[in-house]
C-alpha cells in the first residue's frame, strides 16, 4: 500500500517546476495551443511589457472560431478578419507554427492536436479554450485557461496551479446498440449535474470507457467542462498507442516504442485512491436529448420535459422551458426541429460523420429542415470526401462545409435564427449560443441525422441499420 498513484498524480509530479508551502505549484506546460479569439490581448500584453515567447517550439496556433465555412475568401466581418490577421502577425513575429484557414493542417484546435500527434499521453496541455479537456482522452492533463494565463504561458511556459482533486467516474457494463459516447457523457452530466466536477480532474474508468474508440473517448473528455471539471482524462492503453503511431509529430521506430512504454506506465495504478468516485451503469443509458439551457438539462429520448412541481430549481427550469419554447411534461419525440448541425470539437471527426452518414444514406432531409455538416478539420473533410461521405450527405440534402467551429458558437455566418430550433452535435445549449434567441438541443451525430430526416426527435435505435 501507499505507492499507488493516479495518472493525475504521476503527470503532476513530473511537471512541478517550483513548489512552496501555501502557494499553488508552478507547473511546466508541454504544449500550448493558440487560436484567434483568446490570444490577441495576450500577445499585446507581452508586447507592451517587452517580453518574448519563451518556447515558440511548444506553441501551435490555428484559426477555427471565426473562419468562414462556406467560402474561405469571404470573411464578411471586418473585425473577425482583423482578429485572424492579428494572429498571423503574432505568429510570424514570434516564430510560432500556424495552420491558417488555407493550411492543410487547419481545423478546430481540439481536433487537430490529436490528429497531428501533438497531443500525447503524459503531456500538460493548455489552450485559451475550455474544451481543451478533449485532449485528456490520450491521458494528457489538458485544461482550458483564460487570456491572462495564455499570456503567462507564452512568457514563462508555466502556470501556477493548485493540485486538483481527483474524481473517478466509473462506467460499469457496456453501452447498448445505438447508444454513443455523446449519450454517455450527456447522461453523466444529467445524472450528477453541471457542478459535480468543479475543483476536480475527472478520470473516466470502467469497461464501457475501455471499449470506446479514441475518437469516442475524445467526445467524452471534451464535455468534462460541462460537468464543471477543468480537465477529464482516460488512462492510456494499447488503443492510445495505436492511434498515435505514425502521426506527424510523433517519433517513429525505436524511439516510438520507448515512448509507448512510458505512456502505458502512466495509467492509474491498481488500488490508487481518488478523492471521490461516482458510478453509472452503461446499460441504463438511452440516447439523450437536452431540453433546456444547460447541458445538465437532458433526458432520454423516450422521456419528457420536466414537470415544474417535481423539480428543485423551479424558477430556473421554468425560465429554461420558456426560452426553449417548450411546455412541461412534453414528450421529447414531439419536438420539431428546423436546423441540424453536425460538427464541433465534440462530434466532427471522421467516425462521427460516418455514423451520421449511415443514417441518412438514401434518405432525404425533411423539407422544413436546414442541415449542415461541418468537418472538424481540413484533413477530416478530405478523408470523408475520399470515402464518398460528402456525397451521401449532399444527396440527402445536407450542406457540406469547410472545417471550423461554425454553428457551435455562431461567431461566423453560420447562425440559427431567432426562435429557430436546432438538433446539434455540439456541447453547449446556453441561451443564444447558436444565435440570439436560438434554441439548441444537444444530441449525438446519429440522433441529429435521424432528426434531420424526420423533422423531429426519434429514437435512433428504432431505425433499421443503426451502426453500433
Amino acid at each position: 500500500m501507499g505507492n499507488q498513484e493516479t495518472i493525475v498524480d504521476k503527470i503532476w509530479n513530473k511537471h512541478v517546476v517550483h513548489a512552496e508551502k501555501g502557494k499553488p505549484d508552478l507547473l511546466y506546460i508541454d504544449l500550448h495551443l493558440v487560436h484567434e479569439v483568446t490570444s490577441p490581448q495576450a500577445f499585446e500584453g507581452l508586447h507592451m511589457n517587452n517580453r518574448k515567447v519563451r518556447r515558440p517550439d511548444l506553441t501551435y496556433a490555428t484559426m477555427d472560431h471565426n473562419v468562414p465555412t462556406k467560402n474561405r475568401d469571404v470573411v464578411k466581418d471586418e473585425i473577425a478578419n482583423k482578429q485572424m490577421e492579428t494572429l498571423r502577425e503574432n505568429c510570424e513575429k514570434n516564430g510560432i507554427a500556424l495552420a491558417d484557414m488555407y493550411h492543410p493542417d487547419q481545423g478546430i484546435v481540439h481536433v487537430i492536436g490529436p490528429q497531428l500527434g501533438l497531443t500525447q499521453p503524459g503531456k500538460t496541455i493548455v489552450c485559451g479554450d475550455s474544451h481543451t479537456s478533449t485532449h485528456g482522452a490520450f491521458g494528457a492533463l489538458a485544461f482550458g485557461i483564460g487570456t491572462s494565463e495564455v499570456e503567462h504561458v507564452l512568457a514563462t511556459q508555466t502556470l501556477w496551479q493548485e493540485q486538483p482533486k481527483t474524481l473517478n467516474v466509473q462506467v460499469k457494463g457496456d453501452l447498448g446498440a445505438g447508444v454513443t459516447a455523446k449519450d454517455l457523457i450527456l447522461a453523466i452530466i444529467a445524472k450528477f449535474g453541471v457542478r459535480f466536477g468543479t475543483g476536480y480532474v475527472i478520470e473516466y474508468t470502467g469497461d464501457a470507457v475501455r471499449n470506446l474508440s479514441m475518437e469516442e473517448r475524445m467526445t467524452v473528455c471534451n464535455m468534462s467542462i460541462e460537468a464543471g471539471a477543468r480537465a477529464g482524462l482516460i488512462s492510456p492503453d494499447e488503443k492510445t498507442v495505436e492511434f498515435l503511431r505514425g502521426k506527424e509529430y510523433v517519433p517513429s521506430g525505436e524511439a516510438f516504442d520507448e515512448l509507448a512504454e512510458s505512456w502505458l506506465a502512466l495509467a492509474t495504478d491498481e488500488g490508487a485512491v481518488y478523492d471521490k468516485t461516482v458510478t453509472i451503469h452503461a446499460e441504463e443509458i438511452e440516447p439523450q436529448v437536452s431540453w433546456g439551457t444547460n447541458p445538465g438539462m437532458c433526458v432520454p429520448v423516450s422521456g419528457r420535459t420536466p414537470v415544474l412541481n417535481e423539480v428543485e430549481y423551479k424558477e430556473d427550469v421554468q425560465r429554461a422551458l420558456e426560452y426553449m419554447g417548450l411546455k412541461e411534461n412534453q414528450p421529447i419525440t414531439s419536438i420539431e426541429i428546423d436546423h441540424v448541425f453536425i460538427g464541433s470539437c465534440t462530434n466532427s471527426r471522421l467516425s462521427d460523420l460516418k455514423k451520421a452518414a449511415a443514417i441518412v444514406e438514401g434518405k432525404q432531409v425533411k423539407s422544413s429542415v436546414r442541415a449542415i455538416v461541418v468537418p472538424g478539420s481540413f484533413s477530416v473533410k478530405l478523408q470523408a470526401e475520399k470515402e464518398g461521405i460528402d456525397t451521401i450527405f449532399k444527396q440527402a440534402g445536407f450542406e457540406w462545409r469547410e472545417a471550423g467551429c461554425s454553428m457551435c458558437l455562431a461567431m461566423n455566418d453560420d447562425i440559427v435564427p431567432h426562435s429557430g430550433r436546432c438538433a446539434s452535435t455540439s456541447n453547449r445549449n446556453f441561451e443564444g449560443r447558436q444565435g440570439n434567441g436560438a434554441r439548441t438541443h444537444l444530441v449525438s451525430p446519429e440522433m441529429a441525422a435521424a432528426a434531420a430526416i424526420e423533422g423531429h426527435f426519434v429514437d435512433v435505435r428504432t431505425i433499421a441499420g443503426v451502426p453500433n
Binding site: A80, S148, I225, E315, L409, R428
Partner: protein, 192 residues
C-alpha cells in the same frame, strides 16, 4: 492589474444559477483585440431586445441599480467558455466584487487576474443578501484585508480566500514578473 483593498458598493442581485460566460458576454462581442470597452456588451441579450432597445424588466436596466458595483448571483457563476472577456466586461461595466455560493474554476481564476474579488459564500447568506438587495437599496462594504463583508448596519460576515490570491489582489501584482524571478528554475527544469 489594479490593486484592490476595500470596496463599498451598491449590490445588484441576480437571482439565477449557472450564469454562463456566453450570457455575461455573447460571442459576437469577442472579436475585439483589446481588453477594454466590453462593459457596454455585458449581459447583452438580457439587457437589450432584438432591436437593441433596453428591456425595462431586466434588473440591471432599472434606475435603482444604475451604480451597482457588487454582483450577487446563484450557484456556479461563470460556467462555460473560458473567455476572459467575461471579467473584462464585468469590470468595464463597474463591478469589482462578485458574490456567489459557487464559481466555475476558470471564471474564478480569470476574475482574480483582473482585480475582481470573487467571494464564495454559503448559500443561506447569499440568499439573505439577495432578498435584501431585491427589497431595498442595499450596499455592502468588502474589506479584502480583513476578509470581511459588512452591511450598512455593520453586521459583519467573514469570507475565505486563498492567501496567495489575496496578496496578489491587495498588491495588484504582475504575476508574470513574479514567475520570471524563478526563471533559473524553469531553465533547470528544461535541462532535465
Amino acid at each position: 492589474m489594479e490593486a484592490i483593498q476595500k470596496h463599498t458598493g451598491l449590490v445588484y442581485p441576480m437571482n439565477r444559477t449557472n450564469v454562463d460566460t456566453d450570457q455575461i458576454i455573447p460571442k459576437q462581442f469577442l472579436k475585439r483585440i483589446e481588453r477594454t470597452g466590453f462593459g457596454q456588451f455585458l449581459f447583452y441579450h438580457w439587457r437589450f431586445d432584438e432591436e437593441g432597445k433596453k428591456r425595462p424588466d431586466f434588473g440591471l436596466n432599472k434606475a435603482e441599480y444604475n451604480n451597482a458595483s457588487v454582483l450577487i448571483a446563484g450557484e456556479n457563476f461563470g460556467c462555460g467558455s473560458s473567455r476572459e472577456h467575461a471579467p473584462w466586461a464585468l469590470l468595464d461595466y463597474g463591478f469589482r466584487v462578485v458574490i456567489a455560493p459557487s464559481f466555475a474554476d476558470i471564471f474564478y481564476n480569470n476574475a482574480l487576474k483582473n482585480g475582481i474579488i470573487p467571494i464564495q459564500m454559503e448559500k443561506e447568506q447569499v440568499d439573505l443578501w439577495m432578498r435584501q438587495a431585491e427589497e431595498t437599496e442595499f450596499t455592502l462594504e468588502v474589506d479584502l484585508k480583513e476578509q470581511r463583508i459588512r452591511d450598512a448596519k455593520h453586521n459583519a460576515v467573514y469570507f475565505d480566500i486563498p492567501a496567495y490570491h489575496k496578496e496578489k489582489l491587495l498588491n495588484g501584482w504582475d504575476e508574470i514578473a513574479l514567475t520570471l524571478k524563478l526563471e533559473d528554475k524553469i531553465e533547470a527544469y528544461e535541462m532535465r
